[in-house]
Structure formats: structure tokens, C-alpha cells
Amino acid sequence: MTSEFARMLLILIGIAVAFALVLAGLVFAGGGRRSKRYRPGRPFTFTPVWFLSAPEEQSRAGIVRALRAATLGGRPTGPRETGGASDRW
């Protein structure tokens, strides 16, 4: 076995090992992330979120409402009549 052949063999083996290490690293990096699935009975540790379809319009509407209230003298609003439902699981 010549030294040239041994060097080529080492290079090829090195490339294969490096490729395997990169793949293993990617797999472990992906698997270490927290599962997003909600599981009943387990603690829910996520930051509260509040979703709207168009929050920018809501924000603008809120500004308009505040300006209108200021124009009308800022009359305090009483408790609003609401409906809906409550349930548990």
C-alpha cells in the first residue's frame, strides 16, 4: 500500500465521518426543541398571546374612540352588557 493510497483513503473516510457528524448535529439540534403540542394535564408555560385578524385596524379604532371620548368630555362608561358561555375540560 503506497502512501498516496493511504492518504486518499484517510481523506475519503474523513469526509464520510464529517458528513455523519453534521447530520447527527442537525438531528439533535432539531429534537432538542420544546414540543409545541398542548397536552392536557401538563403545565402550560407559554407566554400569553392574543390574536386578532387586523390588530392595526383595532389600534386605529381605539385611537378614534379615545379622541371621541375626549371630545365628549370623557364620560365614564358603565359596565357593558355581554353574553357568551363558559366551560371547562
Binding site: 409545541k36 403540542r37 398542548y38 397536552r39 392536557p40 403545565p43 402550560f44 407559554f46 407566554t47 400569553p48 398571546v49 392574543w50 390574536f51 386578532l52 385578524s53 387586523a54 390588530p55 392595526e56 385596524e57 383595532q58 389600534s59 386605529r60 379604532a61 381605539g62 385611537i63 374612540r65 357593558r80 352588557e81 355581554t82 353574553g83 357568551g84 358561555a85 363558559s86 366551560d87 371547562r88 375540560w89
Partner: protein
């Protein structure tokens, strides 16, 4: 950041006044994952976020009401906390809030004074039943999407008061 845009991060002084034990409340944002990258770290997968975002847009467009979804702590008096959240919306009278507290396993649906004429309380109860069934099975996103669709369906079929 565009004018009037709100962020998904919890506001520093966001605790609701008078609420009992409620956590800090975030500002409303879109469910679309590219709108605010912070929501990607939330409880819903990207696919579920897209479904919720689409459901909210379709429900708003179809009914003229404003639907919103809150996921987080509601405290001991969950109904009162949900009503306070609902009152923070721009036009609460025509707004519908779906508030889910996974830790307390509580669901609250709050309809405004005009919205409740189109979504009767019994309709809200029916939607709540199907939602909690999905939640009990661990399908948070699916339950929310199904609830929005049911509530929008009832609102569309109901009488308008205008």
C-alpha cells in the same frame, strides 16, 4: 413597524386592574407567524397559527363582527378577566372574544351587546362544548378554529339589529 401596529410581547404593566391572579396581558396581534415572529414560540404550531389566522379573517369578513382569541392565564375569576379583556377591544359591542386558559382548563366566550343578538348564548354554549372536546384531546388549535367557525356560522344566520 407601521403606524398603529401592536406587538406580541407582553406589556410591562399589562396586568388587568382588579383581576385576581391574572398574568400580564399581551397586546393583540395577528396569528400569522410572519406578522410577528414572537408568536412562533407560542403554544401553536405554524400550521395551527395559519389556520387560526385564516379562521379569524374569514369570520370577521363574513359576519362584520370582530373575533379575537386569547390564550393564557385568566385567574380565579376567569369570567370577569375575560370580560375585562373584551372591554379592551376597540369596539366591544360588536366583538367576540374566545379566551382559553390551558392551565386552568377554562374556556370563556364573551360576546358584546350587539354581537350577542346574533350569537345567542345557547349557540355560544354549543360552540364551547365542541371546543372543550377538542381541548380535552390535546388539539388546542383545532378546537379554536372549530369554535370560530361555529360562532361565525351562527352570527351569519342570525338577525341583524342594524
Amino acid at each position: 413597524m407601521i403606524a398603529g401596529e401592536v406587538t406580541a410581547a407582553p406589556s410591562s404593566g399589562g396586568a388587568l386592574e382588579g383581576s385576581t391572579g391574572a398574568a400580564s396581558v399581551p397586546e393583540p396581534t395577528r396569528a400569522h407567524p410572519t406578522y410577528h415572529p414572537e408568536v412562533v414560540d407560542g403554544p401553536l404550531s405554524v400550521r395551527a397559527l395559519l389556520r387560526v389566522d385564516e379562521a379569524l379573517r374569514l369570520a370577521d369578513a363574513a359576519t362584520g363582527l370582530t373575533f379575537s382569541v386569547y390564550i393564557g392565564e385568566l385567574g380565579e375569576d376567569s369570567r370577569e378577566t375575560a370580560q375585562r379583556l373584551h372591554a379592551r377591544l376597540a369596539d366591544p359591542d360588536v366583538s367576540v372574544l374566545i379566551a382559553v386558559s390551558p392551565n386552568e382548563r377554562v374556556l370563556e366566550i364573551v360576546t358584546g351587546s350587539r354581537a350577542r343578538k346574533r350569537i345567542l348564548d345557547r349557540d355560544a354554549h354549543l360552540a364551547a362544548k365542541s371546543m372543550v372536546a377538542a381541548f380535552a384531546g390535546g388539539d388546542l388549535g383545532g378546537g379554536i378554529v372549530a369554535g370560530i367557525a361555529q360562532l361565525a356560522d351562527h352570527a351569519g344566520r342570525g338577525p341583524t339589529d342594524d
